[in-house]
């Protein structure tokens, strides 16, 4: 762990995460997550999947799925995954993943490439159907999907029917937040 003296801000510019509730749904900015992209090297796909499984403690997620326990991973593209972990304990997740994956995969730190908002509560589908073109009927627990929200490329993860995570590019946080809150006010 580094002991530097620079103070981080959230993507929305605060020292604390932004939390807003409309009706029965709460939108929470989640800065406390570390991310690393893991992309299998050519010809190393099965070894990479095994190494990833070892890292996250469960089989590497298949297309459009998430898996894992303390560390989780979600499918991000062919032979490519995003590994998530608590920022507090895994700020240097890229180094940890690089060690775990060895020569089987290329690892890139993605922690601050993304910003995450969690939607929790009842009535989330009514909000999501205003935001993205995903077929929510097929988005069950453990699903992960790419989509465009307000013309911003995002990941939508269904943790449970009452908890969804939305990942969007960090720099576009203002646009994404506006879109989510407007949709919540519109739908709820």
């Amino acid at each position: 762990m580094s002991v530097h003296d620079l103070v981080a801000i959230t993507a929305l510019g605060g020292s604390e995460p932004c939390v807003e509730t409309v009706g029965a749904v709460t939108c929470t900015e989640v800065p406390g997550v570390a991310l690393a992209s893991v992309a299998a090297r050519l010809g190393q796909e099965s070894k990479a999947a095994k190494a990833l499984a070892k890292l996250i403690g469960s089989p590497a997620p298949g297309i459009g799925r998430t898996s894992g326990e303390a560390l989780t991973a979600f499918w991000a593209g062919p032979e490519q995954w995003m590994v998530e972990a608590p920022f507090e304990t895994h700020e240097e997740i890229a180094d940890q993943a690089t060690t775990a994956m060895g020569e089987t995969a290329s690892v890139t730190e993605q922690t601050d490439a993304w910003t995450r908002f969690d939607l929790s509560g009842d009535g989330i589908p009514a909000v999501l159907e205003l935001l993205c073109q995903l077929d929510l009927r097929t988005l069950d627990e453990g699903s992960a999907a790419r989509c465009s929200i307000h013309h911003v490329g995002c990941f939508v993860l269904c943790r449970t029917s009452r908890l969804f995570s939305l990942y969007g590019p960090r720099a576009s946080v203002g646009t994404l937040h506006h879109a989510i809150i407007t949709a919540m006010r519109s739908a709820l």
């Binding site: 580094s2 510019g13 992209s37 601050d112 993205c132 307000h150 013309h151 720099a171 006010r185 519109s186």
Partner: protein, 981 residues
Amino acid sequence: MTQTNRLSGGQIDRNTTLNFRFDNRSYTAHSGDTLASALLANGVRMIGRSFKYHRPRGVLTAGSEEPNGIVELRTGNRKEPNTRATTTEMFDGLEAQSQNRWPSLKYDALAVNDLFSNFLSAGFYYKTFMWPAAFWEKLYEPMIRRAAGLGSLSMEDDPDEYDKGFRHCDLLIIGSGPSGLMAALTAGRAGADVILADEDFALGGRLNSETFTLGDHSASDWAAQAVAELSALPNVRLMPRTTVIGAFDHGVYGAVERTGDHLPTLPAAKPRQILWRIYTKRALLCAGATERPIAFENNDRPGIMMAGALRSYANRFAVTASERVAIFTNNDDGHRTAADMHAKGVKIAAVVDVRDDAPTSHDYEVLRGAQVTDTKGRHGLTFVEVALADGTTRTLDCGALGVSGGWNPNVHLTCHQRGRPAWNEALAAFVPGPDLPVGLSVAGAANGVMSTHGALQSGAEEAAQLLELSGALPDLPKAEDAPVAQKPFWCVEGCKRAWLDQQNDVTVKDVKLSYQEGFRSVEHLKRYTTLGMATDQGKTSNMGGLAIMAEVAGKSIPETGTTIFRPPYTPVPIGTFAGRMRGQEFHPTRLTPSHYWAKERGAVFVEVGNWLRAQWFPLPGETHWRESVDREVRQTRASVGVCDCTTLGKIDVQGTDAAAFLNRIYANGFAKLAVGKTRYGLMLREDGIAMDDGTAGRLAEDHFVVTTTTANAANVYRHMEFVRQCLCPDMDVQLISTTEAWAQYAVAGPNARKLLQKIVDPEFDISNEGFPFMACGNITVCGGLRARLFRISFSGELAFEIAVPARYGDALMRRLMTEGEEFAVVPYGTEALGVMRIEKGHAAGNELNGTTTALNLGMGRMVSKKKDSIGSTLSEREALNEPDALRMVGIKPVDADHKITAGGHLMNTEGPVDAAHDQGYVTSAAYSPSLNSSIGLGFLKNGGNRLGEQMRLVSPVTDLTVEVEIVSAHFVDPEGERVRA
């Protein structure tokens, strides 16, 4: 005012009385009314004035096909012109104004136009306002627009919210009449995910307007029961007030849901309308049919309506347009109206039927073989003149006339993907053709199945077939199944002013004239006469126009053809298409890691693509942007400046073939770049033209970080992915964007190193020896934070780019400012950045403009001949390598007080100024505080050999001529000593 024309029964809620105003007069209505039904109930027949002749007009229909009954709805910035009274759901406090009249609806000054109707025929504007040409834009067009046109805009911002959304289903059913409801019951009971959309606020379609029975129930009761059952099914989503406006590719349907139009005031943050994109593999069009008029003399007076509409108003809304009603028909459906109106106690003056064998009635008179030849009534119908079968005439005293020329299936959505409808001889109407949008079927009247039983049956059958349901179909209620045959009767012979298109004031005569004048194609007819244009898109007029056109051309109607049906089916407010994306949210905005800090500093921001970048940082007392920018440049060159360059694209390239991959992507060599080094790279397109430039740093044998220009970040990433996946699938390369993962700042100026040494942890040697020009590496800062350092320079100064994880970017910028105080550090924006790169002679987007080659940019030798790279072969094309090819040069005014202007062209000092003598052009220009002169970069033919030459910089468009001198593009530190210091 009492509702004098209100009948008994109907589906309105008489316990709820609503107040509304029309043309500043107060009226009452009931819940369940439309504005049209409420006006008729209050005895108001005249609602507006016509487009061209300003003739009095009332409602013609009871639905979305309405051409006449259009008003300005609501007031102030919520005013909406051209809104159909026939679909406007009544609410308490509704305000509407008639339109296209002055000073009042009753006494309209421009009604004088009607007296000059002989002059205002088809093509009047084209023939009359031809000369002088200069008058068109300034005089004629404004004058015509003022005189014609319909409603007026508020000219204020629309304050309402709009939204967009996405829905998915197994089956989309469009229309909730008998076929739609039966289809929904069939699919819903089978467990399919169904969306049933209808433009009306009451589901049931035509069933709500009829008195016949379905099984043991009245039509409307059966519809209500079906809706109740569907509401209870969790897999069925009912969408009333929702118009499916278009059938688009890949099973996507556009639908506008009017979520707030019926409310007196919109709840806070709730949308007025939502534009839905509905994704479905299967859709069933149950859009019903539209009744068609018959053209006869003066057939446009208020009170003359479609017979089916009269029936709707009587049965559904409990309203009659008059105490005495006549019917003019060519089919049995007109008689149904007469019977229903009679049953409601309305006096039937007579039923005029063109058929000699028309059915008779004991309740009212039927005039067989008769035709309506004229009407009377200044502000509304008072008398109808009828030519009887025996050759005599008769005058009927009536205030309303129901007209029925038969029914046209609503085929519109079947044609949205260029399908053509097919002619059905028995119905004398177009029905859906064979080329339907993939996955779309049609049922009920929309498919030419005109009986209620047929509609119910076809709805059930089509739904079952689309969903591949096995087993028996649901039981159908017993319903009328009368055979329907329609013998065409379009227009009464000998009429002079018989309207086909009431919205655009197009008469039978206009169509004939258009044909005489050579407009033989229906598309030309439409444009010349305006038949079928505007808000109703000719739903009641197109068929009549085609029929007249066919008659004069001596062709059949199918030979004449139809115009193209295009979305949207009914008008959609622009706000609905915009949704949430308006004002500042029109496009996504990207903020840099130092944005919040820059805002505190009072930075002026500029849009660079979607990014907001600090353009300059004004200080108190600075009144002109140049003062700020000049100061930022001078201070950076004198000491040190910091600029947020996070926006430059950063692409992480890893893999055992990463070096070989970059060797393919870049025109210059990368295979041998040492670890810990950065190299400038130039990418070419396949055609040999320069695509983008930037640097690539090698962090490990198998790991590079490629930087791109801000503008091209996405394009370059896409290009690299294309090369990786399609051109080099055998290479072991992995790519991912890290643009916003790292906050990256340029620290430039003679004191750059000294400043950074206060931040970079001491174990990292960043001296000139330890970290020379073009070095790169992973370091730590501020006591252990992981960071990256690149010794690269865009400004031409001793410079570094330092990157930390984005969340620490704000803190790092503040730290750089604090630690830099002793050096008088200055933050600089994109303007100063631009000035310094022009002073240094670095190419940017203006020079990499999609037309220039490496040779033009003075980098011809960078295109390596020792390897194959994208674009290298085609960069050798002869035409790109002429001896006098354009070369990048610097440009200075001979007189330092003169200005270099980007976009200007370079001409020799003598000779003509024209394209043939063009020598080149200026791409970038700035005032250089270092040289105290305006300077520029540009491209000049054979420029490399013309340094020192004097030329003229001209811009004939802005009348500019400046004497300039051609100089080296490197105005500052041409030897590059500073960057290596």
